[in-house]
Each structure stands twice: as structure tokens, then as C-alpha cells.
């Protein structure tokens, strides 16, 4: 277990190596170093996980201090890693899925001239992400947090020659940093009132010092939530994620689907004590999740771009996780994070293969009939899609999402409204998922497949497909074997959900409704895109339909609103004041002197006679003054 530091160390080494010497290596060597470093890190985490299961450390937590980072007055911040079931599971998923995506990237990016830069960024990302997860104090967590944000920015703008990519990258960086600002203030508040930034000490002190409902806890909870919604693209800061799809597809899979965007979920789960002390903040988390999952679901329904549709789907699914956090179903959120990492990564990888096969075509309405052309892609994509929609019994998504939907009501913090929204969300998910599948793989072929993915790309997909199928069997509902391996393990780090048995509906009933919503969603998608596509087309052409379509497609007009409310005023001010208004005060003084000088200057005519006259006149006045006054 004392190999813990190796998990981030390998990717960092990979990054340094690639950054310093990457351009001198062959593409193959770059891929090997890039994927290998993450592979080693995945191996180490698997080894540590094994050890953890076999002989768990005392208290199910292990801390490793690397060195003393900041030590000022009462502030002690070591670079230290903290391993408990929560961070272990997250780390495992990040390194393993990360490794698979790195392997995939070796195929996907093999033609790109900047492959070494790509792998350098990706390695740096994995290192930062792992640091984020393993950090024992909030500042180290922030280091990882900003690190992943940076990598996200760099990778979205990876193809920097196109200004649009750069714009998307900047937007992602800035919007997430808006959230980070709130989180930083939250950190200050926590340190001010609890006197430490070590997460575990913080939790203990908070539970000890703050009563339930304490305003400080609420403030801290809301401020941290601000950071979380920024990173996890939740309302109201979700606008960056769809644009982030400008990056290479493996990046979208790794960063903007599987790992980084769930950092907000991790943060809230990590700081769950604060939220337990602040029910109103926790309720806000739930509301944010519920609102996001619906709004993003509608937006996903209207996107023509396959990656953007998936991006909105990601936003929506993270909304589920937030909803789970909001009702205190901590383990359910992490469970959904894990299964989502599998199937959403797979969906993106599949989308990447499709896009590459079709000359970088991303518009789904120009695809179609790819079922026969790309069978491996089709089957893995279908599995992932079913998992996303939550097809009962066989897919991982069914178990994780079903758990969230049920606990949205059954938990003691749950509410009927949450449950309704969650079930409606299942309908939306199912509808947009099958819309994507139908548009891409069914119907007639509209474009030509010019290239088929190689083994490096298909093998990771198959592994992920398997995981998307079986990954859910670690926690099944009561009526289906009642396995709770996953939740039991997590309960060493996170409190179990408090089920309000008195009023709770049965798990079976909830799952029944979920299945029904799923089928309705499927039926709607089938009707709209296979049975009667012309009806859909006419619907979007009608006045109301068109307006609604545009409104949803533009993400409920949020970008528009933010541009006008926030972005433009700042830009306007920067442009207008580029010359620095304060400077004009000083130049104004200078101008005044200049003006005065101009006045006095006129008396200096350079003519002797003028001076003589002035002297004479002066004397006259002087004598007159002496004589008559």
C-alpha cells in the first residue's frame, strides 16, 4: 500500500518524459510511453485495491505523506494521499478506464503530428485526476482540480489552428474556474471556522462544532457546490461542456465523460458531512441535479451533432448523480459514476470510431445504416446505449440508475418531485439514446465508410462493453438477488442511505415505472426516427416546434444570456478602457501644465524690443506702486 505514490508518479513521469523528449521519439514509442505510464499506474492501483480488499488497513483508510508542502503558522498542508474505499474506487475507475482510453488513443491519434503533445497532456491529466482523488487535504485536491481543468483546456484546444477550438477550450477553462472561485472562497470559510484544511479532520471538527442547519455549514456547502457545478457542468455552469467536444474524441471520452466531469460528484461525496449538517444546501444539490438532468435531456434530444448529443447526455447523467447526492444516496451516486464511466466512455469511443470512419463527419443526419458497415462499433455502441438508457436486468446502467430513482423518493431526504423528475429523465434518456442509435446505425447509408478501426481501438471498446454489461452486478436491488458488495464496501467511507421505510415505495414498483418510462422513450424514438421520420421533420418545421427546437438546441439560451449579462460587459469595459482611464487623470494634469505653458510661452516672443518694453513697463508699474501706494 505504500506504493500509493506511484499511481500519480507514473503518469507524471510520462508527462515529463514526453514533454521534454517527446518530439524526438517515434510515434510508436510515444504511444507506448503514453499508454504505458497510465497502464503501470492502473496496475499499481489494481494491486493496491487487491491489498485493500484482502487486508484492509485500520479504519479502512490509509494516509501516505510524501512531503511537507506548506507549513505556516497554524496551517499544515502536506502533500499527502488518503486512500479509503471512496477514493480507491474512483482511482481504480480513472486509471483503468484511463488506460483503456489511452490504448484507444494510440490508434485514434496515430496519424496526428502532435501525438507526443497529446499523450503528454493526457498523462498530465491522469496524474492530476488521481491527485484530486487521493488528496488528503483540500488544497492538494485543488491542485489536482485545477490540473485537470488545465488539461481539459489544453486538450479541448488541442487542434489549436482552428480558433473555434481555442474558444471552446477557453470557455471551458474560464467557466470551470468560475466554479473554482466559489470553491476557493469555501475553502477560506472552512479554514477560518474550522482551522484546518485536512479533509478528515475537517469532517470531524465540522460534525463536532456545527449543529445541523448551521448557517456556516450551509454557506460552506453552497460554496463547494459552486465548485462542483462548475467542474461537473451542472446548472447554471453547464454551458462549457457541449462546446468542449471540440477536442479529440478520446479526450471527450476520458475527461468530458468518464472522469473529470464527475470530480464535482466526488467533491460533494468527499465533503458529505458538511451537507449532512446543511440540509438546505443538500436539497439545493438535489434541485440542481434534477433541473440539470431534465434540461440537458431536452437539449440532447435536439442536437444534430453526435458528440454534442452525448455531451448533453453526460450533463444529464451527472445530474442523476447530483440528485443522488442531494437525497443522501452517496453510494448510489458513486455507483452511477462508475457504470457511467464505463458506458459513456464507450459511447464516445464508438462515436470517435464512427466520426473517423466518415471523414470527420459529426452530423447524425448525414450518417445512417452503419450497422452493417461497422459491426463491432454497432454492437459495442448498442450495449453502451442500452446501459445508458438503463435496459433492465442485463445492463449496468439499469442497476445504478434504478437505485438512484428509487432512493430519490425512498431516502429520508427524498421527495416525490425528485422521483418524478428522475423517472421522466429515464424517458428522456431512453428517447435521445435510441435517437442517436437509430440515426447513426439504422436507415439508409448517407455517407461512405472509408476506414475501419484497428485493434487498438476496438479492443478497449470490447472491454468497456463487457464492463457496461457486468459492471452493475456489484449492487442489485432487493428483488434481484440483493447483492450489496459495492455499497457495503463504500459504507466504510460514506454513510449508508437512510431509507424512510414508513412512506417509501417498494424498489420493485420504482423499477417498474423506470422500465415503463424506458419503453415509452424507446417507442417515441422508434416512432420519430424509424417509423415516421417525416413527422419529426414536419414537427420541427412548425412555428412552435421550430422555436422550441432552437431554444433547446441552444441549451435553453443560456449562452446567449451569459454573453449579454457577463461576458460582453467585461469585454466592453476592457475594450473601452484599454487606454486606462486612470492614466488620463495624470495625463490631464500634464495637459493642464502644458496648457498653462502655452499661455506663458506667448510672452516669450524672442524680440528684444518686446522684452525691453516689458522691463520698462514693469519698472513703471513698480515705481508707480512705490510712489502712490
Amino acid at each position: 500500500m505504500n506504493l500509493l505514490w506511484l499511481i500519480p508518479a507514473f503518469p507524471i513521469a510520462g508527462f515529463l518524459f514526453l514533454a521534454l523528449a517527446g518530439t524526438r521519439l517515434s510515434r510508436r514509442a510515444v504511444s507506448i510511453v503514453g499508454a504505458g505510464s497510465v497502464g503501470l499506474s492502473a496496475l499499481v492501483s489494481l494491486w493496491i485495491a487487491g491489498q485493500f480488499f484482502v487486508s484492509p488497513p485500520a479504519g479502512y483508510a490509509y494516509t501516505q505523506t510524501i512531503w511537507n508542502w506548506l507549513d505556516v503558522g497554524s496551517l499544515h498542508l502536506p502533500i499527502a494521499f488518503y486512500l479509503d474505499p471512496l477514493s480507491l474506487i474512483m482511482t481504480l475507475v480513472v486509471t483503468c478506464v484511463g488506460f483503456l482510453i489511452h490504448v484507444y488513443s494510440a490508434g485514434y491519434m496515430s496519424e496526428d503530428e502532435d501525438i507526443s503533445r497529446f499523450f503528454a497532456y493526457m498523462n498530465l491529466f491522469v496524474a492530476s485526476m488521481v491527485t484530486l482523488l487521493l488528496a488528503s487535504n483540500l488544497v492538494l485536491l485543488l491542485l489536482g482540480w485545477e490540473g485537470v481543468g488545465l488539461c481539459s483546456y489544453l486538450l479541448i484546444g488541442f487542434w489549436y489552428r482552428d480558433p473555434a477550438n481555442g474558444y471552446a477550450g477557453r470557455k471551458a477553462f474560464i467557466v470551470t474556474r468560475v466554479g473554482d472561485t466559489s470553491m476557493l472562497i469555501g475553502l477560506f470559510l472552512l479554514y477560518r471556522h474550522l482551522g484546518t484544511l485536512d479533509i478528515q479532520t475537517l469532517m470531524a471538527r465540522a460534525a463536532h462544532q456545527w449543529p445541523v442547519g448551521s448557517p456556516l455549514a450551509v454557506a460552506a456547502g453552497l460554496l463547494l457546490l459552486g465548485g462542483a457545478v462548475g467542474k461537473s457542468a451542472q446548472l447554471p455552469l453547464q454551458t462549457w461542456l457541449p462546446d468542449a467536444m471540440a477536442g479529440p474524441t478520446p479526450t471527450s471520452a476520458l475527461i468530458h465523460a468518464a472522469t473529470m466531469v464527475t470530480a464535482g460528484v466526488y467533491l460533494i461525496a468527499r465533503m458529505h458531512v458538511i451537507y449532512q449538517l446543511a440540509p438546505s444546501a443538500q436539497f439545493t444539490v438535489g434541485v440542481v441535479g434534477a433541473a440539470t438532468l431534465t434540461l440537458a435531456g431536452f437539449s440532447a434530444l435536439t442536437q444534430p451533432d453526435i458528440k454534442r448529443a452525448l455531451a448533453y447526455s453526460t450533463v444529464s447523467q451527472i445530474g442523476y448523480m447530483f440528485l443522488a447526492l442531494g437525497v443522501g444516496a452517496w453510494s448510489a451516486a458513486i455507483f452511477h459514476f462508475m457504470t457511467h464511466a464505463f458506458f459513456k466512455a464507450l459511447l464516445f469511443l464508438g462515436a470517435g470510431m464512427i466520426i473517423e470512419s466518415l471523414h470527420h463527419e459529426q452530423n447524425m443526419f448525414k450518417m445512417g445504416g452503419l450497422r452493417k458497415e461497422l459491426p463491432v462499433v454497432f454492437w459495442t455502441f448498442l450495449i453502451a446505449g442500452c446501459a445508458l438508457a438503463g435496459v433492465p436486468l442485463v445492463t449496468a446502467g439499469f442497476y445504478s440508475k434504478g437505485l438512484i430513482v428509487w432512493q430519490a423518493e425512498a431516502s429520508s431526504a427524498g421527495r416525490w418531485g425528485f422521483w418524478l423528475v428522475a423517472v421522466f429523465g429515464v424517458f428522456l434518456t431512453s428517447a435521445y439514446t435510441f435517437r442517436i442509435i437509430f440515426l447513426t446505425f439504422f436507415g439508409e447509408a448517407k455517407s461512405h465508410v472509408h476506414k475501419r478501426p484497428g485493434l487498438a481501438m476496438t479492443v478497449p471498446c470490447i472491454v468497456l462493453a463487457v464492463l457496461s454489461l457486468v459492471g452493475g452486478f456489484v449492487k442489485t436491488p432487493e428483488f434481484l438477488g440483493n447483492i450489496h458488495l459495492f455499497t457495503d464496501f463504500l459504507h466504510h467511507a460514506l454513510p449508508p442511505v437512510a431509507v424512510a421505510h414508513a412512506r417509501a415505495m417498494s424498489e420493485l414498483a420504482s423499477e417498474g415505472w423506470v422500465t415503463l418510462a424506458l419503453i415509452v422513450g424507446f417507442a417515441v424514438a422508434y416512432f420519430c426516427y424509424i417509423e415516421r421520420p417525416e413527422f419529426t421533420a414536419s414537427l420541427t418545421r412548425s412555428a412552435l416546434g421550430n422555436a422550441l427546437h432552437r431554444f433547446w438546441k441552444s441549451d435553453w439560451g443560456m449562452d446567449w444570456l451569459y454573453d449579454r449579462l457577463l461576458v460582453w460587459p467585461v469585454m466592453w469595459f476592457a475594450r473601452v478602457d484599454a487606454g486606462d482611464a486612470v492614466d488620463s487623470i495624470y495625463t490631464g494634469i500634464a495637459r493642464l501644465c502644458e496648457w498653462f505653458y502655452q499661455g506663458v510661452r506667448r510672452t516669450e516672443t524672442g524680440q528684444i524690443r518686446w522684452y525691453a518694453a516689458a522691463i520698462a513697463f514693469g519698472t513703471l508699474i513698480f515705481v508707480a506702486v512705490v510712489l502712490f501706494l
Binding site: A613, A616, L620, V623, A624, L627
Partner: protein, 166 residues
Amino acid sequence: MNILFYVASAVAIIATFLMLTRMNAVHALLYLIVSLLAVALVFYTLGAPFVAALEIIIYAGAIMVLFVFVVMMLNLGRAAEAQEREWQRPSLWVGPSVLAVVLIAEVIYVLTHADTRMFGAEVVGPHQVAQSLFGPYLIGVELASMLLLGGLVGAFHLGRRLEEKR
């Protein structure tokens, strides 16, 4: 003797006035010399024979000769006279004249309110002048000699550069 003073004064004033209104530089110089000679006479009547002599020798003699030389070197002819006439517009006289009249008025005002004693007709001869010049005013003499040296060097320098340029 008094009459001599007033006549000399009148000559000095008239000659100076005429000097001012001449357009030809040589004519003006001649009137200036007349004015200086008249002033020398005034000095004499005031009992200062030594400075009267100096006035004639140095002012009317040496300094005016310098002027004459310069006028000759500049070789001013009729064209210069015409130009002079063009420069001297009548309106130009007004302002300075007013200024001068006011000045005189002030002087008269001062003089009428001041000491009106007559001069004792006492001659202060060269001997006394020399005694105070080389007695209490010795430093002044040294300074004056330095000034003259400065003027000499300056004039020489300015003149020499002119030669080279030519």
C-alpha cells in the same frame, strides 16, 4: 554759466531727438555725437571736468568711431534707408512714446517732491576722482578691468569666427 547748462541741455535733447528720427545710420550717429558733446558740456557745468573730458574722448571719440566702422563695414546704402523707412511706421511710435511720457511724468513728480537745493558750484577734479577710484573703489576698478577683458575676448572671438567663415 547757468545759461550754458540750459543751452547744452537743449542741444542734447534736440540732438537726441533728431538722432532717433533719422533713417540714415550715419546721420543718426552724427546727431548722437552732438548729443554726447552737449552732455559733456553739461558735465563741465556741473563741476566735473574730468568726466567731461572722458565723455568726449571715450564716448564721442572711441565708441562712436567703433559705430562708424561698423556702419562702414555693413556698407549700408540707400536701400537700407528705404528699408528703415518701411520699418518705422508712425503707429509704432505711439506706445513707446506714451510709456516714455509716463516715465518722465513720474520722474518729474519725484523731483518736484524732493530736494530742490542748488548745487554748490564746487569743482571735483581729477585728483579727487583718482583718489576715490584707487582708494575705496579699487575692487570696482579691478572688476571693470575684467569686464573690459571679457569684452575684448568676446569681441575678438566673435569677430574671428566671422573671418573664418568668410
